[in-house]
Symmetry: C2
Subunit: 312 residues, 2 copies
């Protein structure tokens, strides 16, 4: 099993990426390899400073960098020797089982849709976040930012994609699926959400448990999968971030609130494409990178892309 990490992507690249990569190795088993993709000189220099033997990694050189400010589609097609383009190329030719980057998000999404491609039958890929629950279990929320406007059949399919994620990545049997809405009643919400409710209720393969309101998130009663459009999901994701931030501003250090810290979550997997890909936060430092790599390992262990291909 080979996991690739983009050493050049993120505000603190390459050093923080290399450090996080070294830290993540403690979780790797003998048949797993971490592949560092980036500028060889920087990688060897940093590893030497850290007194880490470079041979514990596979090192794949890249000579270009897609900067944070680059135009995603243009940069991806023009910088063929960038770490992101090299990573996607390795996913495509099967020399990587998973790939992650804290670099240019747009370029990562371009690679997802136009390099490894969307799985046939998937309407729209989605970004998934792991959401902590007060009973110490995890739920997933999708979409958290790819598709601000979702048709009902897209929301239904997010329920299916989210269920596959919950089952194979989080090991939850028959995951319960809820629809984020502004009331419990099936008559609530936008026309699109109301129509999605009907589709989800009628779908035989889905363990649909109905609408979930904003004050039902993160509690014991939260379903394993929360479906919403990418606009609402993105607001929810970032609002959880700000509450974690405020809890620290108020000098509250708490194990549960800390689970909302992106540094502990690590990254946002993309579901619905022909590869296992995780996108990290641009401001990721050493710890966040370690967890982004761990998140990628979990997605690869769950064989997520293959499971979705079989199911859709």
């Amino acid at each position: 099993m080979r996991i690739g990490v983009d050493v050049m992507g993120g505000d603190f690249a390459p050093d923080a990426i290399i450090e996080g990569a070294v830290d993540s190795l403690q979780f790797f088993s003998a048949n797993e390899k971490l592949v560092l993709i980036g500028d060889e000189t920087s990688i060897y220099r940093r590893l030497k400073m850290m007194k880490v033997n470079p041979e514990i990694f596979d090192i794949v050189p890249s000579t270009e960098v897609i900067e944070m400010a680059d135009h995603p589609a243009k940069a991806f097609s023009q910088k063929k020797n960038s770490s992101i383009a090299v990573g996607y190329g390795m996913l495509k030719n099967g020399t990587l089982d998973g790939f992650c980057s804290a670099g240019n998000t747009g370029a990562m999404l371009v690679g997802a849709s136009y390099s490894v491609n969307v799985i046939p039958g998937v309407f729209r890929p989605a970004l998934v976040t792991i959401a902590p629950r007060i009973d110490n279990r995890d739920s997933v929320i999708l979409d958290v930012g790819l598709n601000p406007d979702c048709k009902p059949e897209v929301l239904l399919q997010y329920g299916i994609l989210g269920s596959i994620f919950a089952k194979y990545v989080l090991d939850i049997e028959n995951p319960a699926v809820g629809l984020l809405n502004i009331g419990k009643e099936e008559t609530k919400g936008t026309p699109s959400v109301k129509a999605a409710y009907e589709l989800m209720r009628e779908h035989p393969g889905l363990n649909f448990t109905g609408n979930v309101e904003g004050h039902g998130l993160f509690l014991r009663s939260m379903p394993d999968v929360i479906v919403c459009d990418g606009f609402v999901g993105n607001i929810v994701l970032k609002m959880a971030e700000v509450f974690h931030h405020i809890s620290r501003l108020r000098n509250f250090k708490d194990a549960f609130f800390d689970r909302f810290d992106f540094e502990n979550i690590g990254g946002t997997p993309i579901v619905g494409i022909n590869a296992n890909v995780v996108i990290g936060h641009g401001i990721s430092k050493r710890k966040a990178i370690m967890n982004m790599i761990n998140q990628t390992r979990a997605v690869v262990h769950g064989n997520l892309a293959q499971r979705i291909k079989e199911a859709i």
Copy 2:
């Protein structure tokens, strides 16, 4: 100045309403009167038990009750002697300057739109919530639940209505207005939100400061007015509630987090109708009722409905 409160509305009516009404009187000045609308026998009995002189109130009897489970429109038109219908009747004939209830929300909204009516020129009334900021100032968010789907011109007008609220109820000069979105860039969001961005930027009377992301809420940098559709606003409102709830579950007692407690916020004013009306949470107890009445006083002091009539 006369504030009416529905004594029969809410899960803990009438006792909790009467108790909250008594508590709220400490804030009333000599020229202000609190009007209790409800079952006379219950009111006199409870006040006697509390050893409170009934003459400090105006008591207006009603003989019917719109129950929480009643169909809003049907109940409002059929139960003409219900406390909610009586309250709206008094708003209409000018014997009340403001009215609040923790009862059937649907019936309160029916009264708003079909009894006192929407202000001509207002596309859609909205529900406003006060949002605390870490720097101890207040912002407002609208809409938090009335209109799940909003056209761009409705969002623009929410900016205007919210500015009037911030100026006259919260005493904020030239309030800054932000649009809740999934990125800072003007190209982000749904087609409707993108079009609203253009309208808001071009509107001469609006102090528009651009997009605000979910992690910009509640911080010092949060604008005074946050505009969003009622779907997203409702999720934000209830998610703040659940974070307050979780903070208490985690044994964190904090003055700032407590400002997210609905008991301290008290109620949700309706903007855009020909009267000053505040809707309370159905589960309101004594303290929440006191704050709902306080909220109504603030709206009446700001002369909100009249200010909007003059501006639109």
